[in-house]
């Protein structure tokens, strides 16, 4: 009848403990933060969802995707179309359409009027697009830099398409001026808090899904394809379908992040999804450490928080500071903050402290 020490308990039930801590933090935030800060945190979480997906596709699967804005945008536009239709009611058109003399909303708008279809659509549309795209390119063995360039070109093309079809997409203005989120008034702080909870729990769910994938057999396959694609082929696996799986999951995460971005920020436009924002979606993953589970999440939260703080404090100089941070990270910690994971055991070894085990144990006791 051996009693578990806190350390052993934490090691054995690591995901459970982590989830409990995460849930506690999620509920703590609204108690200590203003509605304004909570809105910013919700926005960071939307980007974190994209980053978690990138962590899976790139960190685990080796697919450097420079075009997650495409999937982010698909999810966001599906949500935005639904919210707009909900605001204006049946048989009406948004004001930008009536300026063009359009009297009936187009078919792809009508599709997402139904809330259930819209909710499914924010994940399904990007997921399906990614799957079709993945089958087309991974089947032909497109990988590495070629894939990165292709993904970037696609997101650029998507932005051009949105601008070109301004009669039905709102063009450069995008879609904005939303009143409600599934009928709830967006200006009410209580509703903003609920939207934050949705963002937070979606993020947590995505971390747990990635955790499960990493531990499962399919996680091994994904890493196998990343490191030795040909060997996997000889073993009888189809690398293309494994890649399509990881890529589609990442796309769905990005789509959901994009969908939540709309009620949080209140606007979606081509400039939120095109090439530069897509690369910035990658920045948090790089800084946090792409191969770790929590690196993309933590890195994104840090870099987005830093961006807000720096741009508020130094509006004319912050871009240089942000650039400097990237240079320093790439130069000194190329694998991101995840690299520091090994520092603590290393220090303890040097100091001759025998006890090993995650630092988190302390948090559990408290």
């Amino acid at each position: 009848m051996k009693h578990l020490t806190a350390n052993e308990f934490a090691t054995k039930y690591k995901p459970l403990v982590g989830a409990v801590i995460a849930i506690a933090l999620i509920f703590l935030a609204p108690a200590v933060m203003s509605v304004y800060s909570l809105g910013l945190l919700s926005k960071y979480l939307c980007y974190a969802m994209v980053a978690i997906g990138i962590g899976l596709a790139w960190g685990q699967g080796g697919m450097l995707t420079l075009g997650q804005g495409l999937f982010f945008g698909l999810g966001a536009y599906v949500m935005a179309i639904h919210m707009k239709l909900e605001d204006i009611g049946p048989n009406q058109v948004p004001d930008f359409m009536s300026q063009y003399g359009i009297t009936q909303v187009p078919g792809f708008w009508e599709l997402f009027r139904n809330p259930v279809i819209a909710v499914i659509g924010v994940a399904a549309v990007p997921g399906i697009v990614a799957a079709v795209l993945g089958l087309a390119v991974f089947g032909r063995g497109v990988r590495g830099a070629y894939f990165a360039i292709l993904s970037q070109a696609l997101v650029a093309a998507f932005a051009v398409l949105l601008i070109g079809q301004s009669k039905t997409t709102g063009g450069t203005n995008g879609l904005n001026d939303f009143k409600g989120f599934f009928g709830y008034d967006l200006t009410d702080p209580a509703n903003k808090r609920m939207i934050y909870y949705i963002c937070a729990f979606l993020t947590l769910a995505m971390v747990l899904i990635v955790y499960w994938i990493r531990r499962s057999f399919i996680g091994n396959l994904i890493i196998g394809v990343r490191d030795q694609e040909n060997r996997m082929k000889f073993l009888g696996y189809n690398p293309a379908s494994i890649k399509v799986f990881a890529f589609s999951v990442a796309a769905m995460f990005a789509g959901i992040g994009g969908a939540m971005f709309v009620p949080v920020v209140g606007i979606i436009s081509p400039s939120d999804i095109s090439v530069t924002p897509s690369i910035l979606m990658l920045a948090g993953v790089v800084i946090g450490g792409r191969t770790t589970l929590l690196g993309p999440l933590v890195g994104t939260l840090i870099i987005r928080f830093a961006e807000t703080q720096l741009s508020e404090a130094y509006p004319s100089a912050w871009t240089y500071l942000e650039g400097l941070i990237f240079i320093l990270v790439i130069a000194f910690v190329p694998m991101g903050l995840g690299q520091f994971k090994g520092v603590w055991p290393w220090i303890k070894e040097k100091l001759g402290i025998g006890v090993s085990g995650p630092v988190k144990a302390e948090a559990v006791k408290a």
Partner: protein, 435 residues
């Protein structure tokens, strides 16, 4: 798993659940009011919203916010607006401030992205608690900020001429409405006997809406639109378009291209042998700043439509130009958006002094009829649609890189963002909801 271990874990989980429940109850969970409830509440109140304002009026300073793109593609243009806004504030502070309070500026960077404008507007209103916000340039930045200002019942002063079809109760538009820029330009062309128009513009909302106005005007005034071409933003290939223009039989061009595209367009126009005295181009987005960027040789003698030029001959403008150059450098020109931004600060001051309060609802109520002797001439606020009465000037670009007035409207024109007072424009405003 032994029972003791299970119990232990159970106890720990139970403790965690208790903590969670405690946090939950303090954090407050659950949905708030619905859109329907909000609309009912709005309808029940007398129109003045009761959104809590955090503006601090107790000290001897009052905060205002500027939001301009200091980075990104719009930075070159928007920096000039930020400069002239700062100049206006410095002048007002030197003369004792507003209602005895010195103005303290909080500058934010809009990063040339609409979503960032929305975020920074929120920062200024909810975190910095400013009494009013000045800035924005592109229509998309304004459209992105509009819901923020309406939800928080705050004030935005937007300095650019724009496509109209908007009148938010929380925005004051100090730039031209379509009937103060586009319509006078067409009146001028009509007066000079031009009948066949060719339209060229960048592919976004301002050119498209402007050209819808042009087409409606042409139809109602015996003119003809012989071609309409759009290019993506930043496009530099105009061979085809200029070719089409040359063989369209057009006798004038209405140009709503933005930025770099103008350089390529005017070079191609010149190379094809077209001339300003036979097929003139009247531009809606080329001000003094852009003339030197495009190259004065390419645009010499072409026409522009604005509400202000550096060369305007009046005392206010002479002081404005002199002070601006003294502050920011002798080679810096002054242009319409800058002048309009500068004017907007003084208009806000006028409204606050008339209301004797910084309160948003009081300022809105006091706005009607507030005047200012601006560098462009006397302007007056229209309390109904929040635009201002402005004089329209058609100018010709000179070899000195400046624009010289060749025609002006008979005094300030009443703003009409929805073009409701024009018979030929009936089809345009139909279906557009005005509030």
């Amino acid at each position: 798993m032994t029972t003791s271990r299970a119990r232990k874990i159970g106890a720990r989980l139970g403790a965690a659940a208790c903590v969670l429940a405690a946090v939950l109850s303090t954090a407050g969970c659950g949905w708030g009011r619905t859109v329907a409830e909000k609309e009912a509440a709005d309808a029940a109140s007398d129109g003045s919203t009761n959104a809590a304002s955090c503006v601090d009026t107790s000290g001897d300073t009052i905060k205002v916010g500027f939001v301009n793109s200091l980075s990104g593609t719009m930075a070159i243009s928007e920096q000039t607006v930020s400069d002239s806004l700062h100049m206006a504030v410095d002048e007002i502070n030197a003369k004792g401030g507003v209602l005895g309070k010195k103005i303290q500026v909080v500058q934010q960077d809009g990063k040339s992205e609409p979503a960032v404008f929305a975020e920074k507007a929120k920062t200024l209103i909810e975190k910095e608690c400013v009494a009013a916000v000045f800035g924005g340039w592109t229509s998309s930045s304004r459209k992105a900020m509009l819901p923020v200002f309406e939800a928080d019942n705050a004030l935005l002063f937007y300095p650019l001429q724009y496509e109209g079809m908007e009148a938010s109760p929380n925005i004051f538009y100090s730039g031209a409405a379509p009937n103060q820029q586009i319509v006078p330009a067409l009146d001028y062309l009509k007066e000079k006997g031009y009948k066949k128009l060719f339209l060229v513009g960048s592919d976004y909302v301002f050119p498209q809406t402007a050209n819808r106005v042009v087409k409606a005007y042409a139809e109602g005034n015996g003119m003809q639109v012989v071609g309409e071409e759009y290019t993506p933003m930043g496009s530099t290939d105009f061979t085809t378009i200029v070719n089409k223009l040359k063989f369209s039989g057009a006798d004038a061009v209405v140009n709503t291209l933005n930025g770099d595209s103008n350089v390529a367009f005017f070079k191609e126009y010149k190379a094809s042998g077209l001339k300003a005295d036979t097929v003139p181009v009247i531009s809606m987005s080329i001000a003094e700043e852009e003339v030197s960027a495009i190259g004065v040789d390419n645009v010499k003698d072409q026409l522009t439509a604005w509400n202000y030029y550096q060369t305007l001959d009046n005392a206010q403008n002479k002081t404005f130009v002199k002070d601006f150059k003294a502050k920011y450098g002798q080679n810096r020109p002054t242009s319409d958006p800058m002048e309009s931004a500068y004017t907007s600060v003084y208009l806000w001051k006028g409204m606050v002094e008339k209301a004797k309060s910084f309160d948003v609802d009081a300022v809105k109520k006091a706005a009607d009829g507030v005047t200012f002797d601006a560098p462009e001439g006397r302007v007056k606020v229209d309390g109904e649609n929040h635009h201002i009465y402005k004089t329209s000037y058609i100018g010709k670009i000179g070899s000195d890189k400046l624009i010289h007035t060749v025609w002006k409207s008979d005094g300030p024109i009443k703003p009409d963002p929805y073009l409701k007072t024009y018979d030929w424009a009936k089809s345009l405003s139909a279906g557009v909801e005005s509030n």
